[in-house]
């Protein structure tokens, strides 16, 4: 058992760095980039925690993870205890430890951040969850009730999985309907292997199945069966179908060969494993120079995937400046280390094709920053006459996703807003239909894993309350 160190010592020490695959090596493979803490690293980092009461970090966490409590157990090497502490409020710690934007959440609020050295909460969370997976520590099996009520869940992304887990633990009979052939949502088809190994997602899904949750894949709600029909057959329905429809820019040349939406590009590579063509049958075309339009996590994932698929020049084209890039800080740093180029303050106006209809260039305009807009970020304004052409073989569009109307179209009495997202109570996820709840990206628009997990959990609680009241 490691000792508690003095406060003065805590302030003196630095964050324990994360061991990583070196950039020149990792751009040639799809293996995970950060290698994970050792036990010694984890303890050394955990020792720095001030154990604040109340804990500022928890306020920054959308799932209210019991942060200082689990960190304290790490010092005692009580990793099982630490895992259970996290699991009270977060069902997917191995995932969240890897993909949450900690620098805007817990680590931003951490008092140690005042000195620029916040506790590496994400890395510790990941360490504890990985330890639990390697040691087979999981949830206790729920008790089977004799006459369980039945709940249908649409979509097996983080929102659906979190909702299913909590309801199964309460003894309900839960069935998830998933459109694709593999469950996991964005965790499987969107976020690349080098950031979130699929074996981890598969493990989590197996654990959820062990709780008795049935997952029916290849089943598209709205086409194979309507939400209306689920409402008739089940005691309650949770809609967690995400915001998966890709947005395009509406600029000329967008349908040329070699232009992809990030969703298509990443689905081909991650879900269909095109990076391993021809062992896997799905092809993907990546030329020497690839431009990715956008600055979010999706854009970073696409550009780093393109690099790994052989692009010599993989370029981010983003219309604002470095400070406004919305992706996680770690992704931007990783991308820079991997030699990704950034064309900032640049906005595409046209994709240029050759005589065979293949992309050969992207015409762009330079921008400058004006006054802040509604989002508080300074608005980019085009500089007239600054047009120039980037010579590229592929253009990948990563400017956001929107709601796919298939589910909503089949749900009578479940209201949507003008963007097609379900209208749901913020605290409970309850929609305008008494038997239907919704949560995750299909309510908020594209957001984060942890917010989807939180929404799934809140809905589970509300569904339980409703079903208990129904008797």
């Amino acid at each position: 058992m490691a000792e508690r160190i003095k406060a003065a010592e805590k302030f003196k020490r630095n964050r324990v760095p994360m061991p990583e695959q070196p950039p020149e090596k990792r751009v040639k493979n799809f293996d995970e980039v950060p290698l994970g803490y050792t036990l010694e690293d984890a303890i050394e980092e955990a020792q720095r925690c001030l154990q604040c009461k109340p804990a500022a970090c928890i306020e920054g966490c959308p799932a209210d993870v019991h942060i200082p409590q689990f960190i304290d157990k790490v010092i005692d090497e009580d990793l099982e205890g630490a895992f259970k502490e996290i699991k009270i409020t977060n069902g997917l710690p191995a995932v969240c430890g890897r993909v949450c934007p900690q620098e805007e959440q817990c680590e931003e609020k951490c008092v140690m951040n005042k000195k620029g050295k916040p506790i590496a909460i994400g890395r510790l969370e990941r360490y504890v969850a990985d330890w639990a997976r390697e040691h087979g520590v999981g949830d206790e099996k729920p008790q089977k009730s004799s006459q369980p009520k039945k709940i249908a869940i649409v979509g097996s992304g983080p929102a659906g999985l979190a909702c299913a887990t909590d309801l199964a633990k309460l003894g309900y009979d839960v069935t998830i309907y998933e459109a694709l052939h593999k469950p996991g949502g964005v965790l499987i088809y969107g976020i690349p292997e080098f950031r979130l190994p699929k074996s981890i997602v598969d493990y989590e899904i197996n654990k959820i199945k062990e709780l008795g949750v049935k997952i029916i894949t290849n089943y598209i709600i709205g086409l194979t069966e309507s939400v209306d029909s689920l409402i008739e057959k089940y005691d309650a329905v949770f809609l967690g179908n995400g915001a998966g429809a890709p947005r395009f820019m509406g600029i000329p040349g967008e349908n040329l060969n070699g232009v992809y939406s990030a969703s298509e590009f990443l689905t081909r590579s991650n879900l269909m494993r095109a990076f391993d063509f021809p062992k896997y049958d799905t092809p993907i075309n990546v030329g020497k120079r690839v431009a990715v339009i956008g600055g979010g996590n999706v854009a970073m994932d696409a550009v780093r995937t393109a690099k790994r698929l052989g692009a010599e020049d993989a370029i981010i084209v983003y219309r604002r400046s470095r400070t406004e890039i919305p992706a996680r800080a770690e992704e931007i740093e990783h991308a820079e280390a991997e030699g990704i180029q950034f064309e900032l303050l640049t906005n595409p106006v046209r994709v240029i094709g050759d005589e065979n209809g293949n992309v050969k260039g992207l015409e762009c305009l330079r921008m400058e920053l004006g006054e802040p807009d509604e989002s508080g970020r300074r608005r980019p304004i085009p500089i007239e006459g600054s047009n120039f052409v980037l010579d590229v073989d592929n253009v990948i569009i990563a400017i956001g996703q929107s709601a796919n109307p298939i589910v909503a179209r089949s749900a009578t009495g479940v209201e949507t807003n003008k963007w097609g997202y379900f209208v749901a109570d913020e605290e409970t996820g309850h929609t305008t239909h008494p038997k239907v709840w919704a949560g995750g990206d299909i309510v908020t628009g594209a957001a984060t894993v942890i917010l989807a997990v939180g929404a799934g959990k809140k809905a589970a609680e509300s569904i339980n309350k409703y079903l208990e009241e129904q008797g």
């Binding site: 290849n218 089943y219 069966e225 998966g244 890709p246 349908n255 689905t267 021809p278």
Partner: protein
């Protein structure tokens, strides 16, 4: 799940499978399609629902061997199981009693998908004239079934080995010229080039808005989540998997559509070659 209940070979390269898929069968309507994967390392391939029975829980697909995935599918046997089979996808054909003649054109493998459309239109009281065509007699499928589903049947082959020696566009042009407004609607399903020329024929007769074609662009998910299947229709980008696959022919940008279909041609060719070589080594062909 998704067991092959029946397998028939209809020509050198065309096969018909009956698949056990009760959920899909229950919801299937004419004009819709499924996406299947043969085995876990396979790709998602879209195929039209040629027929289905909600009561008996099966779906029929009719496919032509054109590349690796369809070749592999053709090598599966009765009682084998597909890894994945999802549907029904896409928007159903908009069928009604149009109050006159409807011309239904099927070319090559496109004869299979016109069958449920013709049958339903006839049931609804339309006078259905079907035109089916193939390169040569050997490749002509489903003649009896289409005859039964229609009031009149015209058979053409490119080489004149069976039926009339003509392209499907010829009888279409003649009918539009002689019968004019009496022809209320046209469906044309087949190879892209055939649909393009049927549309040209309709447009030349002032009927570009009355011809429906079924587009088969390259797809991935088939549910509106990737945009691989985008086509330009009436100057707007549409996703063929959810907004279609049927569109008004006169509005379709066929050249863009046909160009997009060729995106992976090199890789597809190589994949097919190495798969054939592997089969040869294993003594399977």
């Amino acid at each position: 799940m998704y067991k092959i209940l029946e397998k028939e070979r209809w020509s050198e390269s065309v096969f018909s499978y009956i698949i056990d898929a009760p959920y899909v069968a229950k919801a299937a309507q004419p004009g819709q399609f499924i996406v299947l994967i043969t085995r876990p390392t396979g790709e998602r391939i879209p195929l039209t629902i040629a027929d289905s029975s909600a009561e008996e829980g099966w779906v029929q697909i009719v496919f032509q061997v054109v590349g690796k995935s369809t070749l592999e599918l053709s090598l599966m046997e009765k009682n084998d199981e597909l890894y994945s089979f999802a549907g029904p996808l896409g928007t159903a054909s908009e069928l009604e009693n149009f109050g006159g003649k409807v011309v239904i054109i099927g070319g090559g493998i496109g004869i299979a998908p016109i069958h449920p459309i013709a049958r339903k239109l006839k049931e609804m009281g339309n006078y259905v004239v079907s035109v089916i065509g193939a390169r040569t007699k050997e490749l002509l499928i489903m003649e009896d079934k289409i005859r039964e589903a229609s009031n009149e049947l015209i058979v053409v082959t490119d080489d004149g080995s069976y039926g009339r020696k003509a392209l499907v566009t010829e009888p279409l042009d003649e009918m539009l010229k002689t019968e004019g407004e009496n022809i209320k609607k046209i469906w044309a399903i087949g190879p892209p080039i055939m649909m393009k020329f049927c549309t040209k024929t309709a447009v030349a007769n002032g009927r570009g808005n009355d011809i429906i074609v079924s587009l088969n662009p390259i797809m991935v998910d088939g549910t509106g989540m990737c945009g691989a299947c985008r086509v330009t229709v009436g100057g707007k980008t549409k996703f063929a998997c959810v907004d279609g696959p049927e569109f008004i022919g006169g509005l379709v940008d066929f050249d863009e559509f046909m160009g997009r279909q060729r995106q992976y041609i090199e890789k597809e060719k190589n994949a097919l070659e190495s798969y054939k070589a592997k089969l040869q080594k294993e003594g399977r062909v």
